[in-house]
Structure formats: structure tokens, C-alpha cells
Amino acid sequence: MSKVVSIEEALTHIKDGDTIAVGGFGLVGCPIKLVDGLSERPVSRLTIISNNLGEPGGLGLGKILHQNKISKAIGSFFTSNIDAVKYANEGKLEVELVPQGTLAERLRAGGAGIGGFFTKTAAGTLLAKGKESRIIEGEEYIFESPLIPDVALIKAKKADTYGNLIFSKTARNFNPDMAKAAKITIVEAEEIVEVGQLNPEEIVVPHLFVNYVVNGGN
């Protein structure tokens, strides 16, 4: 039972209006080949969950943004891509700004079946607007909901054919949390290995979270 498919085949699972989580912090850990593949798919009105929205010059998700395929972005830092800023200022992109740790934890909650959680992060700030607030042990917390993307596009260092994953250095970042949160998880692996090649103690994302594996090469 191998989960290895072509990039084209994997991306047929993305539909108009889907919410897509895309791994990476900047371009490190971003599944660039899947994103490039997505730019060739006729999909629209996507909501993207990603820490950033590509980098200047149309790199990464910037390419999809330029194609007007993204209607909403959920993430923590869009200022690093001036194009994203421009689209937002022109009203062409709805933005839901989420503190980076809250973004990671909302994804983690989505993957782990948590219905919501309380965090001190952002309590008393503009980003708490409209959110339930609660005093716990004398400190103010706000309620945050889980994020469950329709599809996650993930970058891994190695995948085995079952879909067990390991990552490389700080390219790990949001990838494990997104892989666990999404209904369908598509992995771009730099290398695909046979089952048994990964040490059971070192697997970061076990295969039950993964639906498709594509060969991304280096």
C-alpha cells in the first residue's frame, strides 16, 4: 500500500473554495513544488493558512496570490511580502491575523480533536476583539478555536511509502502541526524511502496523518 502519487494527481484533491494549509516559515519548509503545481490548477477562492504568504517577487505562495486564486489568508506575518500588503490594502485579500503561537496551537487543536482552548496570548489586544475572555488563576485568557484545513501541503525531508515523515532542521516548523490538522494531507518529500528505512523512534509524523506523498527531489 503505497501513498506515492504524482504532483498532478495529488493536487486534484484541491477544490474551489477549499481551505489549504501550507507549511513553511518564509520559504524554509515550504513545499515549493506543490505550490508551483497548485499554480497550474484551475482553482479559485482559496483560503490559505500559512505563517506568511510567500516572499517578495512572487516566490512560493506569492505566485498563487498573483493569480487571484486566494480570497483569504490566515497567518501571523504578511508584511514581509509587499504584494500581500498591496492585495490586502486594495481589498482583494481578506486577512485573519493570528499570533504565530496561537496559529500553531489552533492547528494542533484541530489535529488533536480539541474543541477550543484558552491562551493568554493576545488577551487585552486588538487581536482579542470579539473573542471570549476568561480569568483563570487571576490572569486573563482568551478562547481560540481549532483550525481544520481541507488540505495541507507539507514539506518533509524523507517520507517512506506508508507516509511516515521526518523533517530537516528549522524546515520542520508548521509542517507536523498542519499534517495532523488537515482532512487530506499531501507531502512533498525530498526523498522517498522504503518502509523500514525510518527509525520508529524518530518518525515525527506517523503515516496515519498522511494521505499522499509526492517526490519533490532536492
Binding site: F25, G26, V28, G29, N51, S76, F77, F78, T79, S80, A84, V85, A88, N89, V95, L97, V98, P99, Q100, G101, T102, L103, A104, E105, L107, R108, T119, K120, T121, A122, A123, G124, T125, L126, L127, E140, F167, S168, K169, T170, A171, R172, N173, F174, N175, P176, D177, V204
Partner: protein, 218 residues
Amino acid sequence: MGLKEKIAMRAAQEINDGDIVNLGIGIPTLVADYIPKNKSVFLHTENGLLGVGPTPLPEEIDPEIINAGKLPVTALIGASYFSSSESFGMIRGGHIDVAILGALQVAENGDIANWAIPGENILGVGGAMDLVAGAKKVIVTTQHCTKNGEPKILPSCNYPITAKGVVKLLITEYAVFKFENNQMILEEILDDTMTLQQIKAITPANYTISQSLKMLQK
């Protein structure tokens, strides 16, 4: 030594042996250079690395080892990599001893504003809110006034705040202020050309003067 280096050097004195430290972008990044070599200090970067080492030589750059400013760094012996939810679990859970970061404004009640400017579309927050809400000790390093000479240390922030009442220490090129028992206290003067009156003139915040006020030795 420039003003920024001076502030960074003073901040480095606040770090204790064995501390886990998260350094923000700008002046905080410089702090690493002034940590005494006889102290074991572990730098954490929220994108997923504990044990950040110095900036690599150009030929030694590993593109998959970056810090929260997306700049290449190295990993020291004993380092570890982890996912975003793990990394922010460390931050939110109080496992970071010291977070040093910059600010646009600091208020006398310890409020900090360092992420948004009124009137501009708010499109980036990153990990700032998580860090100031979660770290055991929040130290702000900043120039005393803005580039235009406007005060940054105020009775209350008029920029959107990052968190309420979290600043424990504020270090500028002129002075060090402590925040304790709902009081802001001038603890040290770092510039021997500045009188108490001159500092007061550029510091609209209400503060008391420590009975053990330290002045820089000439």
C-alpha cells in the same frame, strides 16, 4: 561602540547562567555578542530551534537553519529542532527565562506596543504576542525616543498594545527602568552626560527614582 551595542551590552548583563533566552529582531539580536563566555546560555528561536549559534560564514550557510528573522544561523552542540506548536508550547508554558525584544512604545504600567501602527493596515504580528505573554521575564531594549525625537516611554500606549503589564525591565541608551508592584522605577542612568531632569524631559511616563539609583562610572 554605537548606541545599539551599548543597549545590547547592558541587556546581556541581565542574563544568568543556564538561562533560556529568546532574542527579538534588531537590538536584541546584538545581545548574543555580549553574553559572557563563562555563562551557559541557550538561545531559543521560535521557528523551532533551541541552541542557536553565531551567524555562519557565507560559505557555511545551511539554508534550512534560520532564526525568527529568517536570517541564517547555526546550531550549537546540544541543540534540538522542534515543530511550531512545540516551540510555542515552550514559550507559552513559561519555559523561556528571558525574552528580549524591541518596542514602539512602553507604558508606565508595563504595557508594550511593538507590532502595529495606528492608521496602517495591520498585517503582521509574528510571535511577539506569544513571547511577551509567555516568557518569565520580558526585557525591552529600545532607543529612548523615535527617530523624529518623539517620546516612546509614555503614561499609556497610544499604539495598539502587544500585551498588558508584562514588561519587567526597559533598557535604553540613557537609562534602565524596572517595573515592580505596579510601579515604574528608574534604576540606572547609562549616559553620564544626562541629568535626571534631562531624562525626565524625554520620558512622559510617571516613574519613581530608585533609592539605589546607579550612575555610569566615568
